[in-house]
C-alpha cells in the first residue's frame, strides 16, 4: 500500500519536474540601492504602479510607495532587505483572506493568524485598498446601532453606516466605549472588527480576554499591529481590517469596525513618509495625510437595497494631547466623520464615567436612526442638561438661589448621576428609555446618589417583569403615546414606593 503511494508521489513529482523544465519566467525587475528603517530604494522597476506589491529576492515583500524619476521608494512589510537584492514586480496589490472563517480570530495586518487557532481556510481574498461605494450605491442612515451606553444612545445616537469619532486624552475611556459597544452587539447580528494600531500586546491580550469571557469573540475579529511591528504594518492595519469588515457589508450584513487609534496610524505614516524623503508639512505630516484617513473612513457606508442593504459603521479613535482637539490630526478626522464623542479628563477625574462632554459631542446623522420613543425622552434630557450646565456656572459662588433654580440644579445633578455607567454593563434600549423617562419626570430627585445605580437596575427589571407589553413596545421602538407615558409613570411610582419601603 505504502509502496504504491510512494510510487504515485514519484510519478506526480516526475510530471511536475518535467513541467518546470521548459517554463520560462518573464518579469520586470530592479535592484535595491539602499535599505534600512523598514524602507528600501530600488533602482529600475520603471513600469511599477503605485502601491503595487514587490517581491524581493531575499523573500521579503514590499509596497511601491514613492515613484521617482529612475528609482522607487518601497516600504518593506515583512522580512529583511539588503543592498543589491533583486526586486521583482508582481502586478498585484496586497490582498488578505476575508470571510466568516475569520470570526473569533486574531490576525496580523497581512491576514496571518497570530492566535492558536491554526491556519485559516478561506475561499475569499480581497485587496486591502478598495474604492469606497459611490453616491448611487448609498442610502441615508436609517437604523440605529445601539452602544448600550445611556449617554450615547440618548444624546449622541449612532446609526448603522455612520462614522463616529471617539476623541479624548489618554486614559479617558475611549477604548472602553468601543469595547462596550462591541459587547452590546451580542444579539444584534452586527459583526465586529477591532483594529489595534501601535498598541501594547498586553493591552490586546486583556481586551481579547474580556471579549472572549463575555462571549463577544463569536462575532468579532481582531486585527493587531503592535507597537513593535514595523511602521509599514501599522500603516496597512486599518485598511486590512476594513477589507474584512467590507466583506460583511457587501454580503448584505451589518458590520462595525473600531480603529484604535488613528493618531498612532498617522504617526506611523509620517515616519514612513519622512524616511522616504517626502516633503514634511504641518507637524511634519506629509501632504497626503488627509487623504490617508478620508479614503479609509469613506469606505464606511449604508448600502442601498440594490446593493444588498449592508452597512459598515466605523468608530475611529483619536488621542488628543492636553484636550487639544484643534491640532492637525483631530481636526482632520473630525471633519471627515459624522460627529464625535468627546471625552474629558476633568470629567473622568471627578468620577463621571463615561466622561462624555455632552456639549462638545455631536452626532450629525444618528438622530434619523434613533427610535421614536428614545428620541422623545432624549430631547427633554438634552434640554434639562443644557439648562443645568448654564445655571451651574452662574450659581457656583452664590448661596441665595430661588427655589425654582435650586430645583433645576438638583434635577441636573441627578441626571448627570443617572448617566454614569459602569464598564462592561451595556443596557438595552427599553431599559434606557424607562430610566431616562424616570430621570426627566424627577423620580430620582429624592434618592441618594449612592443608591441610584441600584435603583436604576431595580426599576428596569421591575418594569421588564411586570409590564411586558410595555417593554415589548419600547424594545420595538414605537413612539411613546400619552397612555403609555401614564402607564410608565404609574410603574415608576409603584417601584419607588417599594424601594423606599425596603430602604426604611
Amino acid at each position: 500500500m505504502s509502496e504504491k503511494r510512494s510510487e504515485e508521489i514519484a510519478k506526480v513529482l516526475k510530471l511536475e519536474i518535467e513541467g518546470f523544465a521548459g517554463r520560462p519566467e518573464f518579469f520586470e525587475s530592479g535592484f535595491v540601492m539602499s535599505a534600512g528603517d523598514g524602507t528600501a530604494m530600488v533602482y529600475g522597476l520603471s513600469n511599477v504602479m503605485y502601491s503595487e506589491l514587490i517581491q524581493f529576492s531575499s523573500g521579503a515583500t514590499g509596497i511601491a510607495f514613492s515613484l521617482l524619476t529612475d528609482s522607487v521608494g518601497c516600504v518593506v512589510l515583512r522580512g529583511s532587505v539588503k543592498e543589491g537584492d533583486e526586486a521583482k514586480r508582481t502586478g498585484k496589490v496586497i490582498s488578505i483572506p476575508v470571510g466568516d472563517q475569520l470570526i473569533g480570530r486574531i490576525l496580523d495586518p497581512l491576514g496571518t493568524p497570530i492566535d492558536k487557532g491554526g491556519a485559516i481556510e478561506t475561499a475569499g481574498f480581497s485587496p486591502i485598498e478598495k474604492e469606497s461605494p459611490g453616491v448611487l450605491d448609498r442610502e441615508p442612515v436609517s437604523r440605529p446601532l445601539q452602544t448600550g451606553i445611556k449617554a450615547i444612545d440618548s444624546m449622541i445616537p449612532i446609526g448603522r453606516g455612520q462614522r463616529e469619532l471617539i476623541i479624548g486624552d489618554r486614559g479617558t475611556g475611549k477604548t472602553a466605549i468601543a469595547i462596550d459597544t462591541i459587547l452590546n452587539q451580542k444579539d444584534s447580528g452586527i459583526l465586529c472588527v477591532y483594529v489595534a494600531i501601535g498598541q501594547k500586546a498586553s493591552t490586546i491580550a486583556g481586551i481579547y480576554d474580556v471579549l472572549r469571557n463575555k462571549g463577544a469573540m463569536s462575532y468579532t475579529t481582531i486585527v493587531f499591529a503592535g507597537a513593535n511591528d514595523s511602521p509599514s504594518l501599522q500603516y496597512i492595519a486599518p485598511y486590512s481590517g476594513c477589507a474584512i469588515a467590507e466583506e460583511y457589508m457587501y454580503s448584505g450584513r451589518d458590520a462595525l469596525i473600531v480603529y484604535d487609534d488613528l493618531s498612532k496610524h498617522a504617526v506611523a505614516y509620517r515616519q514612513l513618509s519622512l524616511l522616504l524623503r517626502r516633503p514634511p508639512g504641518r507637524e511634519a505630516y506629509p501632504g497626503d495625510i488627509f487623504y490617508l484617513h478620508s479614503r479609509l473612513l469613506e469606505r464606511a457606508a449604508k448600502l442601498s437595497k440594490e446593493k444588498g442593504s449592508g452597512s459598515l459603521t466605523a468608530l475611529p479613535i483619536v488621542e488628543t494631547q492636553a484636550g487639544d482637539i484643534s491640532s492637525y490630526i483631530p481636526t482632520n478626522i473630525i471633519s471627515i466623520t459624522d460627529g464625535q464623542i468627546y471625552l474629558e479628563t476633568d470629567l473622568f477625574n471627578s468620577g463621571i464615567k463615561p466622561a462624555i462632554n455632552a456639549g462638545l459631542s455631536v452626532s450629525r446623522v444618528g438622530g434619523a436612526a434613533q427610535v421614536p420613543a428614545m428620541k422623545s425622552v432624549a430631547a427633554n434630557l438634552r434640554l434639562d442638561l443644557a439648562q443645568y450646565r448654564e445655571l451651574s456656572t452662574f450659581s457656583q459662588f452664590s448661596s441665595d438661589i430661588d427655589k425654582g433654580t435650586r430645583q433645576r440644579l438638583l434635577r441636573g445633578e441627578k441626571l448627570v448621576e443617572m448617566l454614569k455607567q459602569d464598564q462592561y454593563e451595556p443596557m438595552s434600549v427599553a431599559d434606557q428609555i424607562v430610566v431616562i423617562f424616570a430621570g426627566i419626570m424627577g423620580a430620582f430627585d429624592d434618592i441618594k446618589d449612592e443608591d441610584l445605580p441600584k435603583f436604576q437596575k431595580g426599576l428596569a427589571s421591575y418594569v421588564r417583569n411586570n409590564y411586558s407589553a410595555l417593554t415589548n413596545e419600547l424594545s420595538a421602538g414605537n413612539a411613546l403615546e400619552d397612555s403609555r407615558k401614564k402607564q410608565l409613570s404609574i410603574a415608576i411610582n409603584a417601584y419607588k414606593a417599594m424601594f423606599g419601603g425596603k430602604d426604611n
Binding site: 513529482l13 519536474i17 518573464f26 520603471s46
Partner: protein
C-alpha cells in the same frame, strides 16, 4: 544620474548628429573611457575635431568628474537614435558567437528593434540562460526552475 551629465551628453550628442559623425564620436568616446579605466589613455590626436573641442570645454568647466556618467548617457542616446536595445545574457559558461547571434536575431525579431547582446558568465544560473533587457527579465535558467519546484514541494 546628475542633471549636469545629462546636459553635457545631450550637447555632445546634438553636435555629433549635426556633424553626422555619431558613430565616430561614439567609438572615440568609448576608447577614451576604456583607456581611462585601464589607466592607458589613447592618443587624443586621433579623435574627431568636434570631440576634441568637447573635451576642452569639459576641462575648462571642470566637468571631468562626470565623464563616465556622460558616456553612459551619451551611449543610451546613440542607442535610441539607431533603434538599438542593449541586452545582457547570463549563462553558466561562455556562449559562442554563433549561438549569441542566433539569440540576438530571435530577440530582435520578437521585440521589433535591433538587440545588441553581450554575454556575461554567472555560475549561479546553473544551466539555461537569463536575459536582461533594461528592467525586463526573461528567465530560462535551471536555477529559477529549481526554485519554483522547491516552492511547490514546500507547499
Amino acid at each position: 544620474m546628475s542633471i549636469t551629465a545629462e546636459k553635457y551628453a545631450k550637447a555632445l550628442f546634438d553636435s555629433a548628429r549635426d556633424g553626422n559623425n555619431i558613430e565616430v564620436t561614439q567609438q572615440a568616446f568609448s576608447s577614451l573611457v576604456d583607456g581611462l579605466k585601464k589607466g592607458d589613455i589613447p592618443d587624443i590626436g586621433s579623435f574627431p575635431a568636434s570631440f576634441r573641442s568637447f573635451l576642452s570645454v569639459l576641462s575648462s568647466r571642470k566637468g571631468y568628474g562626470h565623464i563616465f556618467e556622460i558616456f553612459e548617457k551619451f551611449s543610451s542616446m546613440c542607442d535610441e537614435e539607431s533603434d538599438t536595445v542593449r541586452a545582457r545574457i547570463f549563462t553558466s559558461s561562455p556562449l559562442d558567437d554563433k549561438k549569441r547571434s542566433r539569440i540576438e536575431d530571435v530577440l530582435s525579431r520578437k521585440l521589433g528593434v535591433s538587440v545588441a547582446l553581450t554575454n556575461a558568465v554567472d555560475p549561479s544560473v546553473i544551466g539555461g540562460a537569463v536575459i536582461r533587457i533594461g528592467d525586463r527579465v526573461l528567465d530560462y535558467s535551471v536555477a529559477a526552475g529549481l526554485d519554483a519546484l522547491k516552492k511547490e514541494l514546500v507547499r
